[in-house]
């Protein structure tokens, strides 16, 4: 198997596979300026979102981790931050600057939006010149971080697409790679297996605490997630219970052991396989993985989830022949041959390996071609 990719070695030594000049709005009311710059300056990419005002406590901490993490992602060559006020814009820019990449902050108060857009555009011209002058290098495939999250799962996910990702993950970890996975609620019924796989006792306790906290939160609402888990799409695809869905879900990590348990937005320390506390909503989870340094995401689907991310390519794998037939513009790897045993698991794990290398070397995935750029922040509780 090929084990080199042609990627970008960033100032801090991390490997990126895309080369964005990212325009980061601090808050909802700065989205307009960020998008304006994206429209004017070729080679820039805005990541509009709905929050960044009056957040506080742990929710605010997670907000900063996510925004700084997005700008720090190795797929980003340079970043421009824009907020209504200087303080939070500067805080995010300073966090990103620690990676050594070029970053500038702007604020709209006392300037007005139009003047701010002009300043940002002038900065963006320099940033794009810088980004496009960077040269790619041959580096080890295993030096990148890959994240995992499935969606619109059905029984073909647990039978095939998630298992292919699992077999790939085992091989990638044997090659000293780094992998992130999460989806706390969608482990319900399989949490004992994840707990057993954690290498360290302290991580096992941390994982179970995070898992149980969410179960308690559900109970406090006086409900259970029956009705939303499994989703309507899952049930239409043959999944009957959350336990069945969760057991299919964890096929994505194969038989691998887990090196650490991270809370929302925590950066993994060291290589290996890391669990992160995340929502099971696709865009929220992928946004957190990207903020934690993942540069490629693997997304097995059954019924056909169409999610993408602005910063990292999201590779879709399905084994459902109907999804391949009706949703081909979203699918990067057709693994339906595993259902009728036409090909075996190792064959498809190798296909996926090659697909990721091809993607890392620059080929666009379907979600990028279709401009799917879901950047969605996780909120822990309402803003003040």
């Amino acid at each position: 198997m090929e084990n080199k990719i042609f990627g970008y070695v960033r100032e801090n030594g991390k490997i990126g596979v895309r080369n964005h000049v990212l325009i980061i709005p601090v808050d909802d009311i700065s989205n307009s300026a960020a998008v304006a710059v994206e429209n004017i300056i070729h080679g820039t990419l805005a990541i509009p979102h709905h929050y960044g005002r009056l957040q506080f406590g742990k929710d605010l901490e997670l907000f900063f981790k996510t925004m700084i993490g997005a700008g720090s992602n190795p797929n980003v060559a340079a970043a421009i931050v824009v907020g209504i006020e200087p303080k939070w814009a500067n805080k995010i820019a300073q966090g990103i600057a620690e990676t050594g990449k070029p970053v500038e902050a702007f604020y709209i108060e006392k300037n007005g939006e139009l003047k701010t857009i002009e300043k940002m555009c002038r900065s963006a011209v320099r940033m794009v010149e810088h980004a496009t002058s960077l040269k790619k290098e041959w580096v080890n495939f295993s030096d990148i971080t890959i994240s995992l999250k499935c969606g619109e799962s059905d029984t073909t996910s647990g039978l095939a697409s998630n298992r292919i990702v699992g077999r790939f993950t085992e091989k990638f970890l044997q090659n000293n790679g780094t992998v992130l996975f999460g989806e706390t609620t969608e482990l319900t019924g399989a949490e004992h297996i994840v707990a057993q796989r954690l290498k360290k006792e302290e991580d096992r306790n941390k994982f179970l605490k995070m898992f149980n906290e969410y179960q308690e939160l559900i109970k406090e609402q006086g409900v259970d997630l029956l009705g939303s888990q499994p989703t309507e799409g899952n049930i239409a695809g043959g999944l009957s219970t959350i336990e069945e869905k969760a057991l299919g879900n964890i096929q994505k990590i194969g038989n691998a052991k887990i090196d650490s348990a991270l809370d929302y937005g925590e950066q993994p320390v060291g290589k290996g396989l890391h669990f992160m506390n995340t929502s099971s909503a696709a865009a929220e989870a992928v946004t957190l993985f990207a903020a934690a340094g993942a540069v490629v995401h693997l997304f097995p689907t059954g019924q056909g989830n169409i999610i993408g991310n602005p910063i990292i390519p999201v590779i879709k794998i399905t084994a459902n022949p109907n999804t391949v037939k009706y949703m081909s513009e979203h699918i990067d790897l057709d693994a339906s041959g595993l259902l009728n045993l036409r090909e075996n698991l190792d064959h498809y794990a190798d296909c996926l390996w090659n697909k990721i290398i091809e993607t890392a070397n620059g080929k666009f995935v379907k979600a990028e071609i279709l401009k799917h750029r879901e950047f969605v922040l996780t909120k822990l509780y309402p803003s003040a």
């Binding site: 059905d154 029984t155 073909t156 647990g158 039978l159 298992r163 319900t188 019924g189 399989a190 297996i193 259970d224 997630l225 029956l226 888990q229 049930i235 695809g237 043959g238 009957s240 219970t241 959350i242 336990e243 069945e244 057991l247 299919g248 059954g302 459902n320 022949p321 109907n322 259902l339 009728n340 045993l341 036409r342």
Partner: protein, 101 residues
Amino acid sequence: MAFYKFLVHKEGDSVGIATDDLQPHEKVKGKVLEGEEEYEINVLMEIPLGYKISLKDIEEGEEIIEYGEKIGKAIKPIKKGEMVHVHNIKSIIWGGNKDGE
């Protein structure tokens, strides 16, 4: 090898998954994912691709096993060859005090 029309995650599971649309009165063969174990079942009703087929007679209240783990329990008796889904099984963890209908 479209010879097999359903697959079973683990030996000892009570359900398999249809990998083709199954028709009533059809006799179909299935196979366990890892291993050599094969199955032959008389299909009792229409079971679309991706839906579960019962590999044995199951009593009301009995645990349903897939992946070698509990995925729920039967809320009515299920015959070998019948479809297994939300109409006849429910989660053990969530919805425990409800009828599961």
